[in-house]
């Protein structure tokens, strides 16, 4: 369903800060895959995700989603295929607007927007139903400004918004990294539930190896702009953090010590 071929990306070319981030990245996702992505800093995980999302374009290579070449499609145009949750809880929602207004914006993702009223009565009932699933009490606060919510609540709302119109692909960019451990677990469980209930295909970046093993049906490890380890099914289920560490050390040498990847 998603096919990334030979992707190259250099930041700040021809300057002292020149950085070759992606060096011929190849990745293929099947329908219904829930892939966790791990790798050290600068491995190109976020760059890959941002390129799928269209935040910036690759220098070379192609990204094909469900048979459509989206390599150079503007971000706002490909948004109709994608659900996104960001690392920063502030990023996914508009804080000055009401919860229901945020949901209404997401409900119209990929639809033509015109001069009809921005939010209808029937929708509000739908939103109440959807918010109940989160179990955070937000269903009684439809008209609250999103800025009043906690980081965890905002991420949960962003998740809901990402799945409100079923996306072809859900992109989760370390979406629990800014949360405290307990909230992070809750948001991860919600993510899994939403992915399962809607039968979504998802790509989730994480720094937490345990989470990477625990969630999803497939795990990839990136290093220096390439996929260096790709495991799924039975093999992934039996994976231990120790195995990942060994694998990581064998590709990266001794660099591991100064990395912020979490062991447990």
């Amino acid at each position: 369903m998603l096919k990334i071929t030979d992707l190259y990306k250099t930041f700040n070319p021809n300057t002292v800060n020149e950085k070759l981030v992606l060096k011929g990245l190849n990745l293929e996702l099947k329908d219904g895959d829930f892939v966790t992505v791990i790798g050290g800093n600068g491995a190109g995980k976020s760059t890959m995700l941002n390129m799928i999302a269209g935040v910036y374009f690759p220098d070379q290579g192609s990204i094909v989603l469900d048979g459509e070449d989206i390599t150079y499609l503007p971000e706002y145009k490909r948004a109709k295929y994608l659900g996104r949750v960001f690392q920063d809880p502030m990023m996914g929602t508009a804080s000055n607007m009401e919860i229901q207004e945020n949901l209404a914006l997401a409900y119209r993702r990929g639809k033509k927007r015109g001069l009809s009223w921005g939010i209808t009565k029937e929708e509000k009932e739908l939103y109440v139903e959807k918010l109940k699933v989160l179990d955070l009490g937000l269903e009684t606060r439809l008209t609250s400004k999103v800025g009043l919510l906690s980081g965890g609540q905002r991420q949960a709302l962003t998740l809901l918004m990402a799945a409100l119109r079923k996306p072809k692909l859900l992109l989760l960019d370390e979406h629990t990294a800014a949360l405290d451990p307990k909230t992070a677990d809750k948001v991860l469980e919600l993510s899994e539930q939403i992915i399962r209930d809607n039968a979504l295909t998802a790509l989730m970046i994480t720094h937490n190896m345990k989470n990477a093993i625990q969630y999803g049906n497939r795990l990839i490890m990136m290093y220096e702009g390439r996929v260096v380890y790709d495991v799924s099914g039975e093999e992934k289920r039996n994976l231990k953090v120790k195995d990942l560490l060994e694998k990581f050390q064998s590709v990266s040498g001794a660099e591991f010590a100064n990395d912020r990847m979490m062991l447990s």
């Binding site: 999302a53 706002y76 109709k80 508009a94 001069l115």
Partner: protein
Amino acid sequence: MNIIMAMFGAVSQGLTWAILALGVYLTFRVLNFADMSCEGSFALGGSISAVLIVKLGWNPFLTVIIATLAGMIAGFITGVLHTKLKIPAILSGILTMIGLYSINLRIMGQANTPLIGQRTMFSIVKDLLPEASALGMMDSTLQTWVTMGIGLVFTVVVIALIYWYLGTEIGCCIRATGNNEVMVRAQGVNTDSMKILGLVISNGLIALSGAIVTQSQGYADVKMGVGAIVIGLASIVIGEVLFLRPWNFAFRLFSIMIGSIIYRMIIAVVLQMGLNTDDLKLFTAIVVAFALSIPQLKKNRMTVRKGGNFNA
């Protein structure tokens, strides 16, 4: 008596300038875009309206529509400079503003165009009413009432239109764009288009206001837009300070209209107290700078208080 007459005049003036403040609100607060082009489009609206009345004898009401359309074009140019050519927001506005200065001179062929003895919206409406003496008031009083009425009708219609438009699907996207562009793009909306759209509407309204003000004061001047953004901001912040928690968005818009009236009243009072008119702009700048810094000043005081508690 003198001060009451001055207040009376201030209310009518506030109502003719209110739409300028609403236009500035759309960019400054809704889009989070400090748009300097409003100074040029305000004078553009005035120039076009005056010239169409004086040189071509057009219907004053029609000239207001043409002025609005011209303002929309000015907003479009600022929008394109900023979104497509990636010029910083402030500079895009300044470029349009400076360009419009020459354009306005070209339109009028001189620095100002008086409307003495010409038909304006105000004279037309006044002619429909009975003679001032028959109503038992002075001619200038009737004039002020007419100005007030026309200003109020225009402002209320504009408020209704803004309220409706920002509630629509597109309007919601414009509001969200001023709030969080990343999120809006992720929801499949072209944020560049939303910014251009917001600037087009805002500058259209500001030119409309310029046309109304020109007809009300009886002349257009190429410099009439100088300080327009500050006057608009003054009205907005006065409205915000007076009504800290508006119970809905429509009321927030009305508070700007009230802010515009109160701004004119404050000006009338300080002028009565002997302030030189040359110092007015400095006075306004200080008032706006103070009002805009209130949130920060409050925050600083809270920090000091917290520190005090900590020591205690």
